[in-house]
């Protein structure tokens, strides 16, 4: 049980699963950085993106399109859906709530969550839809070092690669482009950004669009792993401890937090689970987050919280 090979297998599996949590957490961080809104709707956006993708893909394939063309078409369609969602949220929910306090905005995104969940399932159906975009077979690594090697799922490796690309792309977008600079200005101070001529509603639309596209990427990976289904929305809840541990405002924090949560919960399940009855994966991340909150409320990479009267 407690052999080194086994440990490495559990650890690598956990780390890679953690990257997948990070994919969802990234969407949260983007929106929080740029608008100070804690976007509870990210999980439902993953569901919406996934449903739009898989249903249009099925539709195109059924109409005898070649698979590659169908995938591109479906991705385009899903992106359009996410753009429309971003526009609706900005126009009708967050726009009227400018300058309200964070708690009100948070609760309004809970409302948005329910609208998106209902509308997505009403429009695209509420079954489990299998999605096959990445290879999902297992792969045995390091066979020369350990007997039987270390079992790694190829999908998890793909997830890791995609997350790396995503973070690099986002970093370039934030640091090097004009829109990215405007985004950072808005994050610093809404009113000051507006007064130097940054169109705040356009910026928020861009942020929600980017978060929607990140949700789409997360949906491709998670959809391949679990099938596109309603329980994907629970990922949003799993991503919350990732955010708390990594810090709400840090993109690398989201990745590191995901790694900590993924590795922590798999190791706890494997080594602590048999002692106190299995299934502790379910809450381990949250208790870990609670412990981090007590010691370091802003998270590992978060900016220090300064309060003024």
């Amino acid at each position: 049980m407690a052999s080194l090979g086994n440990f490495i297998e559990v650890l690598s599996g956990g780390l890679l699963a953690g990257v997948l949590y990070s994919l969802v957490a990234l969407g949260f961080v983007l929106i929080f950085k740029a608008s100070g809104v804690f976007n509870f709707a990210q999980g439902s956006m993953v569901l919406l993106a996934g449903l739009a993708l898989v249903r249009s893909l099925d539709f195109l394939v059924a109409h005898s399109m070649p698979f590659a063309v169908a995938v591109v078409g479906a991705l385009l369609f899903a992106s359009l859906v996410m753009a429309f969602t971003a526009w609706v949220i900005e126009r009708f929910v967050l726009g009227p709530l400018v300058n309200q306090d964070g708690l009100t905005l948070f609760m309004s995104t809970i409302g948005a969550t329910f609208i998106i969940e209902g509308a997505a399932q009403l429009a695209f159906g509420s079954d489990v839809y299998p999605l096959k975009l990445y290879p999902t077979d297992a792969w045995f690594a390091l066979q020369s070092l350990f007997p039987g090697g270390v079992l790694v799922n190829k999908l998890d490796v793909w997830g890791g690669l995609i997350a790396a690309f995503l973070v690099a792309g986002l970093a370039i977008f934030f640091q090097r482009t004009k829109t990215g600079r405007a985004l950072r200005a808005v994050a610093d101070d809404h009113a000051a950004a507006q007064s130097v001529g940054i169109p705040i509603s356009w910026i928020w639309f861009v942020v929600w669009l980017v978060a929607g596209l990140v949700a789409l990427v997360a949906a491709t990976v998670w959809g391949t792993k679990l099938g596109v289904q309603f329980s994907i929305t629970f990922l949003a809840l799993k991503a919350l401890p990732v955010l708390i541990i990594g810090g709400l405002t840090s993109v690398p924090g989201a990745i590191v937090g995901g790694l900590i949560v993924g590795a922590g919960e798999k190791l706890a399940e494997a080594y602590l689970g048999p002692l106190i009855g299995g299934g502790i994966e379910y809450w381990f991340a949250f208790v870990l987050a609670l412990a981090v909150l007590l010691v370091r409320p802003q998270g590992v990479f978060g900016e220090r919280i300064i309060e003024r009267i």
């Binding site: 708690l103 609760m107 309004s108 809970i110 409302g111 401890p241 379910y282 609670l290 909150l293």
Partner: protein, 362 residues
């Protein structure tokens, strides 16, 4: 014309600090309580109108009263003290399972005591999970309360001692015996629930008007300023957590014993927490009256949406209805947050203002 306080002079401090300062309010509340306690059972015995059926008690009145009670508890925490909580369902579960275990393991205990002890255990757990609120607030606290939700979901599912080692994990409530009388009929159960709700709602109303209630509101409005004028955040926040969890725990025990009869941990999952939070937001943050209005609305909306297509002769599947309910609830929450952040309670207040001036609007 009728709702006007002209000529009602307050000649003592007691009159000034009365819970319902206006005479018309007193009469209205008295009539409402009289109707709820005596009128409804009488109508049920005589079989008049809808009150003749068990359905209205089992599916409407009892769940409404219990959920309103839980919403009052949550409102104390979220609406009065400003500490957002996504773990209300977990505290209901704690109340239900501790009351169950008290009743099971100490059979001599009267059931009222078991239910209240269930609330007490929930209060202790509430204090425990309230401790992080001393260091963190807002969204961070929401995550901390989510930890409570997931932890207790798991605990009651996996640790078999709590469910008395039943193989399926679902447990049955003990027989509802109060003062030597077994409550079987829906009307009796309704009266039992109503008594609990009335006492606890009055208690909550008075607490929010007392010193501790004002401390909660000061903490909610600005915690640092409150601390500077001499309010101890430790005391204010933890009392809010304790009292809120107590009320939610009692509501959970009632929900399990009186409404469900036999239940699984799923009855108190995160959906229940969100449902309660919505009742509080839609009804009105920081209003006892609003908790009742919000509970009534959230409970009745799905039933209405279920009945409406039937009445119009359309066929709509159950799934579609549940999606529509979710869309409408979400839309309403966003709408109310934008247009009327104080919820239905504020609308009720506006009606009262208008009634004062009616029919001469100047």
């Amino acid at each position: 014309m009728f709702y006007r306080e002209n000529g009602q002079y307050k000649t003592s401090y007691a009159a000034d600090a009365a819970i319902f300062p206006i005479r018309q309010d007193k009469i209205a509340i008295g009539l409402l309580l009289l109707f709820a306690f005596a009128g409804v059972p009488l109508l049920a015995i005589m079989g008049v109108g809808p009150f003749g059926h068990d359905y209205i008690f089992k599916a409407l009145l009892i769940p409404f009263l219990i959920l309103a009670l839980a919403a009052i508890g949550l409102n104390i925490l979220v609406g009065y003290c400003g500490q957002i909580s996504l773990g209300a369902g977990a505290f209901m579960a704690v109340g239900a399972y501790s009351a169950y275990n008290f009743a099971l393991r100490i059979p001599e205990l009267p059931l009222v005591i078991s239910i209240l002890l269930g609330g007490g255990v929930a209060a202790l757990v509430g204090i425990l999970f309230g401790i992080p609120s001393l260091r963190i607030k807002g969204l961070y606290l929401a995550v901390a309360t989510l930890a409570a939700q997931f932890f207790f979901d798991w605990l009651f599912l996996r640790v078999k001692w709590f469910t008395n080692y039943t193989p399926s994990g679902s447990v049955n409530s003990p027989s509802l015996e109060f003062f030597g009388r077994v409550l079987d009929s829906p009307t009796e159960r309704y009266l039992l629930t109503l008594s609990f709700v009335t006492v606890l709602a009055l208690l909550a109303k008075n607490l929010t008007r007392s010193m501790v209630g004002r401390q909660w509101m000061a903490i909610r409005d600005m915690d640092i300023a409150a601390e500077i004028i001499g309010i101890r955040p430790l005391y204010a926040k933890l009392t809010a957590f304790a009292i809120s969890s107590f009320i939610i725990g009692v509501a959970g025990a009632l929900w399990a014993f009186v409404h469900l009869g036999s239940w699984e941990p799923l009855a108190f999952n995160i959906d229940r927490s969100f449902q309660l939070l919505f009742m509080v937001i839609i009804g009105g943050l920081g209003s006892i009256m609003g908790s009742f209005l919000g509970a009534a609305f959230i409970l009745i909306l799905p039933i209405m949406l279920d009945q409406l297509p039937h009445a119009l002769g359309l066929h709509v599947s159950v799934e579609t209805v549940s999606h529509l309910v979710s869309i409408i609830t979400g839309t309403l929450i966003c709408y109310l947050l934008i247009v009327e952040p104080h919820g239905f309670a504020r609308l009720w207040g506006l009606v009262k203002e208008k009634m004062r001036l009616w029919p001469y609007p100047y």
